[in-house]
Amino acid sequence: MKVKQISVFLENKSGRLAQVAKLLGEHGINIRALSIADTSDFGILRLIVNAPEKASQVLKTANFTLSETEIIVVQVPDHPGGLAEILEIMENSQVNIEYMYAFVGRTSEGAIVVFRVEQLDLAIEILAKAGIRLLDGAEVYD
């Protein structure tokens, strides 16, 4: 249930994001989800792609600093309070969320949200127990 995410260090200057996108495109890598966290000096680009290993290799060769992290991808019930429900489950079990972002999946069974948490296994266990659907790698990458 753990999904691989690639985080890339980007300096805050024009054209950097475009370069990453172009590099991945040239190598036939498809971006499934992304988010950027930024400050005035730098940004961190977080990517979920269809071929994580290949993407890492391509970016490393181009001298980008990156790290691979594991995240969980949750299908959030598509009704008001859906996200609150999931957050409450995590809070009750004291799972710390480092960051999260949403992305639009190709299926329309609800909103899909990426969570980076401290206690990955615990989060998977409690969410599954609560009947929340987690997407596995294959589902996310394809």
């Binding site: 260090f9 300096e11 930024d38 400050t39 961190i44 600093t65 790290s67 992290t69 960051y99």
Partner: protein, 434 residues
């Protein structure tokens, strides 16, 4: 002139005095400091072999690393009971360079500083605002004792707090200012903001040192503050400020040659260069008791003027410092070696860091920016952690070096490399331009 008898001593008599004092110093070091005895013996030197001033060339050099290797008091030639003061400056790595003074050394220091002040015509009627830092740094206290020796009034305000500096300068009617040249310009700027016409205040002369500056900057200081701006030179290893000072002729800095023997050498071969040739300044202390260094290599590049100055002083003049033989930077009066910054980064990243120091002068104050390439080792995909990294580097630099720096995290391979080696320093201040 503070001490006309000595300051205008005919050259022959001055050289005789130097020879006697040099021989005494070598003899004393031979007896008292094992480091020097070993060095002299290795070079086959016996004190009695020093017969003329020219014989100094037979003596071995002393370097900053000798001071570091004998940290803190290993090179002292007197017992601790006789040491009445220590000062320290930054070393090339973690350890500071420590220097000591006996009661007589403090008196000699006051004497040479009084001559510096005399070079600018300072008398008991003056009020001297000392805006050099007080503390381990020799600037503040060195100047202080000189002013007291002259009998002028000391205003020991120390560095910083521009508003208060200006208020006191106005209210006390200070006539003399002593600080770093960049701080003088900073004060001028502050005065403008406070709508104080600083050029119309009683201030008439300033003694500026502890960092390199250009002639262009001198003109700017003189115009903006309405004063004569004099360049002074010194380093703690030799005594502190007071080693040399410009007189009002402003054509080179007179060296107190009855206390310090000056040489200019080729930094590569160690060969002594004739007057007029550019090289590394080397000083030998011939009156110091606690820490008399022999042929200390300053790493400062300068030259000795040939001929005498029209002011009447017979002591030789050195050119304002024209550069360094190493990569030391002086930032807001603080000596900074890139190696010190490297050690801080090493401790944090546990790996060889790629970094670059960008030094600039913004609004007359030095600005240090450290660019650090983000390697996988220090990268985190959480903004919070990366920001903490920047803060940590900044804090460590401040606590170990005593300078504030901006830290900028940059992508790998963005710092230009030449022949595989990164260019460590970009200094945009043009301080060594004449």
């Amino acid at each position: 002139m503070w001490n006309p008898e000595i300051e205008t001593l005919p050259r022959r008599e001055l050289e005789t005095l130097q020879t006697i004092r040099l021989r005494e110093t070598v003899e004393r070091l031979y007896q008292r400091v094992s480091f020097y005895r070993q060095k002299f013996e290795a070079a086959g030197i016996k004190p009695e072999m020093i017969k003329s001033i020219k014989d100094i060339e037979r003596l071995p050099f002393t370097t900053k690393s000798d001071l570091r290797d004998n940290y803190p008091f290993g090179l002292f030639a007197v017992s601790q009971e006789e040491v009445v003061r220590v000062h320290a400056s930054s070393g090339t790595t973690g350890k500071m360079t420590v220097v000591g003074y006996t009661k007589n050394d403090i008196a000699s220091w006051a004497e040479v500083m009084a001559r510096t002040l005399g070079c600018g015509g300072v008398t008991k009627r003056d009020l001297v605002q000392i805006a050099y830092g007080y503390g381990l740094f020799t600037g503040g206290l060195g100047m202080h004792y000189g002013v007291e020796r002259v009998g002028a009034t000391v205003i020991p305000i120390s560095g910083g707090n521009t508003k208060r500096q200006l208020q006191i300068m106005m209210d006390f009617k200070a006539t003399v200012l002593a600080c770093t040249p960049s701080y003088a310009l900073y004060l001028a700027e502050g005065a403008l903001e406070e709508e104080i016409r600083i050029e119309e205040l009683p201030l008439r002369v300033g003694f500026f040192g502890a960092e390199p500056w250009s002639n262009k900057m001198r003109q700017e200081i003189e115009r903006k503050l309405g004063i004569k701006a004099l360049d002074i030179y010194g380093l703690s290893e030799i005594i502190g400020p007071g080693v040399a000072s410009e007189c009002l002729v402003q054509e080179g800095l007179h060296i107190c040659e009855d206390h310090f023997i000056v040489e200019v050498i080729n930094p590569e071969t160690g060969a002594v260069l004739p007057a007029g040739e550019k090289g590394e300044l080397v000083f030998t202390c011939i009156t110091k008791e606690a820490l008399p260094l022999i042929r200390y290599r300053t790493r400062d590049i300068s030259l000795i003027y040939s001929g005498l100055c029209s002011c009447g002083r017979t002591h030789q003049r050195m050119h304002r410092v024209m550069g360094r033989t190493d990569d030391m930077l002086i930032i807001r009066g603080v000596n900074v070696f890139p190696s010190q910054i490297e050690s801080v980064l090493l401790e944090i990243g546990e790996t060889e860091p790629h970094y670059q120091l960008i030094v600039d002068r913004e609004g007359n104050l030095d600005d240090l920016e450290i660019w650090v390439e983000v390697s996988e080792r220090i990268f985190s995909d959480e903004v919070k952690k990366l920001e903490e990294l920047g803060t940590k580097i900044r804090r460590e630099i401040l606590s170990t070096l005593g300078v504030t720096a901006k830290v900028k995290l940059v992508e790998p391979k963005t710092i230009p490399r030449s022949e595989g080696k990164a260019k460590r320093i970009v200094d945009r201040r043009e301080v060594y331009q004449s």
